[in-house]
């Protein structure tokens, strides 16, 4: 419970006082994490820019970093939150923007405390980069919707309580106009989750089959036919947040390659030396670019460089891991484990060089392909003309597939 009146001026010192007050009543050392987070939510310190009563205080978004740093300074950093990335990063802002008061009251708090896990049912086999082409059908039946279709590349689906789901409700209008967005209960009848094995041998992701799944209309987010606009809000929040902590020089995969180089002199050749140095230079350039962006954000001047960071790192990861295998030579022809299993999380460093190489191939596909990111840079940053569109004015059902 906050003690100061909510209307008080919300500057950084005020927020630090609120953090101090919370920690005083809920000693992190003795309080259960979920309970503590519930108290933090109630205190408006979950997302300070959210409205009061919904985890926030209506404060400027930039002050969230102050709160996070203060909790960190006091030693309270919540753990085990990896599985909440979709709920926290994508579902919460979308529910805030488009949810009814009932939906916001029902979902935001358990989402924040980690009681309920969320996943995202967007991608389909026939709609990858072109999300708006999706074909999962939702047909209204009185106060409920009946959903049929198949979704792919769904991480966390096997652990999730709820999903954010985009469907097609009107196939007779152009594709962007006939979509509707729902909250889907993953325990509902007709929701079947199957692991999707990837080329590394394991299954980080799932396919989700939806067969006559009934969703109450009260679970709709946004108006009927507004699904594309709602989904855009979700995807805007997908951009990887640039963290508050600077990254050290020579981090990530280049550290692995440099370590091999330093400790295994028998593997060295002049050509590999030059190749390693070129990648070291590029990795350091990418790191400084990210660091510069972090500094820009810290002074409230975000730059468009963010859209390029993922794209630069995916290429780097691919090239460094490819070099790693060539550097290792004979050992680079081996692999650790092809077993079909669900990993506990993607930890590149803990796996073999072969895994680094294979897994990094996904970096330029997942979360926006490098091709789409280049389009975005060309059009939104450089202002070059958009692609000629042949699918804007055609009913979805008449599009070539």
């Amino acid at each position: 419970m906050t003690t100061a009146p909510a209307g008080a001026s919300l500057d950084a010192p005020a927020l630090r006082r609120r953090v101090a007050a919370l920690v005083e009543t809920h000693d992190p050392a003795t309080t259960d994490q979920r309970e503590f987070l519930a108290a933090r939510f109630d205190a408006g310190l979950a997302w300070v820019h959210f409205p009061e009563g919904e985890g926030g205080l209506g404060a400027p978004r930039s002050l969230q970093a102050v709160v996070d740093q203060e909790f960190e300074r006091l030693g309270f950093v919540p753990t085990g939150r990896e599985g909440l990335v979709i709920g926290l990063g994508m579902a919460a802002p979308t529910i805030l923007a488009f949810g009814t008061p009932e939906q916001r009251a029902r979902y935001l708090k358990p989402l924040y405390t980690g009681e309920e896990v969320w996943c995202q049912l967007f991608s389909e086999p026939g709609a990858g980069s072109d999300l708006a082409a999706l074909g999962t059908r939702a047909v209204r039946d009185g106060d409920t919707w009946v959903v049929n279709g198949q979704k792919v590349w769904t991480s966390l689906a096997h652990r999730a309580h709820f999903a954010i789901l985009v469907t097609r409700t009107d196939p007779d209008v152009p594709k962007h106009k006939g979509m509707t967005y729902f909250i889907c209960d993953m325990s509902a009848d007709g929701v079947e989750v199957r692991p999707l094995r990837q080329l590394t041998g394991e299954a980080e992701f799932n396919e989700v089959y939806l067969t006559d799944v009934r969703i109450p209309d009260s679970q709709r987010l946004g108006a009927e036919g507004e699904g594309w606009r709602v989904a855009q809000t979700t995807l805007m929040n997908e951009r990887v947040a640039i963290g508050g902590h600077p990254e050290p020089r020579e981090g990530g995969l280049i550290a692995v390659a440099a370590h091999i180089w330093r400790t295994r002199p028998e593997l060295r050749t002049p050509g590999l030396h030059d190749a390693l140095l070129r990648l070291w230079v590029e990795a350091e350039a990418a790191r400084l670019t990210k660091e510069r962006l972090r500094q820009q954000l810290a002074v409230g001047q975000p730059g468009p460089e963010g859209s390029a960071a993922k794209f630069a790192f995916s290429r780097l990861n691919q090239e460094i891991s490819g070099l790693e295998l060539e550097l290792l030579g004979e050992e680079g022809m081996l692999y650790d484990d092809w077993t079909f299993r669900r990993p506990e999380g993607v930890s590149l460093a803990a796996r073999s060089p072969g895994f680094h190489y294979l897994r990094s191939k996904g970096n330029s596909i997942e979360g926006g392909t490098s091709e789409i990111l280049r389009n975005i840079i060309a059009e939104r940053v450089l202002g070059l003309p958009g692609e000629i569109r042949v699918d804007k004015d055609v009913a979805w059902k008449d599009l070539p597939k």
Binding site: L199, G201, E330, M333, L334, F340, G354, I365, E371, L399
Partner: protein
């Protein structure tokens, strides 16, 4: 700079051979079947290998009087292309190329061992790590003493299904090439990056062995086997690249995004055009390497032919490795999500391409070999 004019085309006979091999592989070993095999008990398809041997594939560069088809390494290269195109799990590289060439180059004492390999009745492996470049020093991992071998060799291709092992070993009187029954060694499979090509560790413990070459002749036979292997491997890599390019072009014509085939987007078109140019160049380079290898094999005493074979093999490895990897990587990327799944065969080609890029020496090591062969000396470090 002098060089023999190499025939870079495919002869009619070669094209007929290609058609037979392709038809057999399409029938017996389509990608889905390979994908299913790689998780079974034995990756290597010995039944398929016997069928291939039935059309002469196991003994192409072996003279008829030694039990072979009396063709040459150019024909072997055409077969390697087709096997690469299907990532076929057969012991062609280990047995029909590396071991057989080593025995052929070893001379008279090895002749008796060749017929069984050429007919496909037996399979052999050359007991060196597959990553060994042709110019490597003679391996010392195995010691020979009193007609028996001891020591361990890692990363041996096709050893898992081998009946016979051809083993470079060093004895009191220097290097030698030995023949050992596989039953006399311990062969332990390892987990390889290339799902379709099993590697194994081979351990000898006073294993009974028969010497088929010694001294410089043993070194030469090994070097020539690895050189021929490098040339033939480049042909396999060409096949991998061709599959990747063709499959991706076909996919780009049918996969629609934004209401258009993705192959109508200019950035995709230009990347595929670049890849096609690279694959066309790889084809010329591979034909050059195969022709030079065949010429050297035909006239083992011709030092200039041997040098041209080394040069063209190094060139091929230096050039084609990158093309095959690039083609497989582009295949995965341009297939999007489906290319990242286990169920689509693209990953079999990616793993083969990357593994092949290390096999018989990385491109980097082959460039250094070329530097010596064409007199572009390294910088003095100082």
């Amino acid at each position: 700079m002098s060089e023999k004019r190499l025939d870079l085309l495919y002869t009619e006979v070669e094209q007929e051979l290609r058609a037979s091999v392709r038809s057999l592989l399409e029938d017996k070993s389509p990608p889905e079947a390979v994908l299913a095999r790689v998780e079974g008990d034995q990756v290597t398809d010995t039944a398929l290998w016997k069928e291939l041997a039935g059309i002469g594939v196991a003994g192409l560069p072996v003279a008829e009087e030694l039990g072979g088809a009396g063709a040459g390494l150019r024909e072997s290269a055409v077969v390697a292309e087709e096997l690469g195109r299907c990532v076929a799990p057969v012991p062609f590289l280990g047995s029909a190329v590396l071991a057989t060439t080593a025995l052929l180059e070893a001379g008279a004492e090895a002749e008796g061992d060749i017929a069984a390999l050429a007919s496909g009745e037996a399979v052999a492996a050359l007991a060196v790590p597959l990553a060994t470049p042709p110019g490597a020093a003679f391996p010392e991992a195995v010691r020979a003493e009193d007609g028996a071998l001891s020591g361990t060799v890692t990363g041996v291709v096709d050893a898992v299904t081998a009946d016979v092992l051809v083993v470079p070993a060093v004895g009191p009187d220097g290097p030698g090439l030995y023949v050992v029954e596989a039953a006399a060694a311990r062969v332990s499979p390892v987990v390889s990056l290339d799902l379709t090509r099993p590697l194994a560790e081979v351990a000898f413990t006073a294993s009974a062995a028969r010497r088929v070459a010694s001294g410089e002749a043993a070194g030469r036979a090994l070097r020539r086997a690895l050189t021929a292997g490098a040339a033939l491997l480049s042909a396999e890599q060409l096949g991998v690249a061709e599959w990747a390019l063709e499959t991706t072009v076909a996919y780009a014509k049918t996969r629609h995004q934004f209401g258009r085939p993705i192959g109508s987007f200019q950035a995709v078109k230009h990347r595929l055009a670049d890849l096609w140019v690279a694959v066309s160049q790889a084809r010329a380079v591979v034909r050059g390497a195969a022709s030079a290898a065949a010429a050297a094999r035909q006239d083992p005493g011709d030092a200039e032919a041997a040098r041209e074979a080394e040069l063209n093999a190094a060139l091929a490895q230096a050039f084609v490795s990158g093309v095959a990897v690039k083609a497989a990587e582009e295949a995965v990327q341009l297939h999007g999500g489906i290319g990242f799944t286990w169920e689509h065969p693209a990953h079999l080609y990616l793993k083969r391409a990357k593994s092949d890029a290390i096999a018989l020496g990385t491109a980097d090591r082959h460039r250094l070999a070329l530097a010596r062969l064409v007199d572009l000396p390294a910088a003095e470090v100082g």
